[in-house]
């Protein structure tokens, strides 16, 4: 699964996710990537989120929307909200990760797996990390 979130110089955020899904899937199985609110969500009032992981759990936790909702309604910072929702995913039995940006300029990762391919960029440069 791949994804991207961005904040532009006009203060708007956007999110996108794309995937081949799960190896050997049957029966037309669909995970969280195309489910708005689970694998992808963007709202200028809160944040933009793209997720990767065990889709069934991300759908059940409503991960992307839940992170935005915590930021908007509880006033949490992005890292706190993302970590809390990923902990909820873990408590259900799932794992994976998210990337988040906010209109305030926060950009965070949160994942509960051994690694996550990720990168970030801004006017100061680009950085890539795997583990």
């Amino acid at each position: 699964t791949v994804g991207a979130v961005a904040l532009d110089s006009h203060g708007h955020v956007a999110a996108g996710t794309s995937t081949g899904g799960m190896m050997g899937k049957k029966w037309g199985r669909v995970g969280d990537s195309p489910v708005i609110g689970a694998g992808t969500y963007a709202d200028d009032r809160a944040c933009a989120v793209s997720a990767t992981g065990w889709g069934e759990y991300f759908i059940r936790a409503g991960v992307a929307h839940e992170i935005c909702a915590r930021i908007r309604h509880k006033g949490e910072d992005a890292q706190t909200a993302a970590d809390a929702v990923l902990a909820e995913v873990k408590s259900l039995g799932g794992d994976g990760g998210v990337i988040v940006v906010t209109p305030k300029g926060e950009r965070v990762f949160s994942f509960n797996t051994k690694g996550m391919y990720r990168g970030m960029a801004d006017a100061t440069g680009r950085k890539v990390a795997l583990y």
């Binding site: 791949v2 899904g21 799960m22 992808t40 200028d44 992981g53 940006v101 391919y117």
Partner: protein, 170 residues
């Protein structure tokens, strides 16, 4: 205000010890190219929506990631692709599930958002919408790499479930 861009290329049981250096270098290079594509949009005052589409298209075209070219395959040996996109300024959104013929599924998701009254289209109907929109098409052979076929064969030979950790994320 300052622009920001973050990308991911998947997560899971990624262990440094099991990675070949050339594979790790290719993954890092792919992520860097995706960042560069998005950066080109954002640094010139472009929209976040255009930046994320540009970045994701790079990753879909890169066989090192489970999306577009190089995607994992179904039990039947097919590539069935999913994608979604959302604009935070309007909360407009588009998504596709189980599509089989669009070279860049993220473009199809955006077309659903911008060219239809719907949010999600699936399977054959979504493929048809893609053709009607004139999006670039690709054969299944384009998406499916020999190593993915091998992975599926190994998985079946070992009677592994699709939920086995090694395969869960593709």
């Amino acid at each position: 205000s300052e622009w920001k861009l973050v990308v991911h290329g998947g997560a899971g049981a990624i262990e440094r010890a099991r990675h070949k250096p050339e594979k790790e270098a290719a993954v890092r290079a792919g992520l860097d190219r995706a960042l560069a594509a998005g950066e080109q949009v954002l640094s010139s005052g472009g929209k976040a929506l255009d930046a994320i589409e540009a970045a994701i298209r790079v990753l879909e075209d890169d066989p090192n990631f489970n999306a577009g070219k190089g995607a994992v395959i179904t039990d039947d040996g097919r590539a069935e692709l999913d994608a979604s996109i959302m604009d935070g300024s309007t909360r407009a959104a588009g998504a596709v599930a189980g599509v089989t013929g669009t070279k860049n599924p993220i473009r199809l998701a955006r077309a659903v958002m911008e060219k239809s009254p719907h949010v999600m289209l699936a399977a054959a109907g979504a493929d048809r919408f893609s053709r009607e929109q004139g999006l670039e098409q690709a054969e299944q052979d384009y998406f499916i790499l020999p190593e993915r076929k091998k992975q599926l064969e190994e998985m079946k030979a070992k009677r592994l479930s699709a939920l086995t950790v090694e395969y869960k994320y593709g």
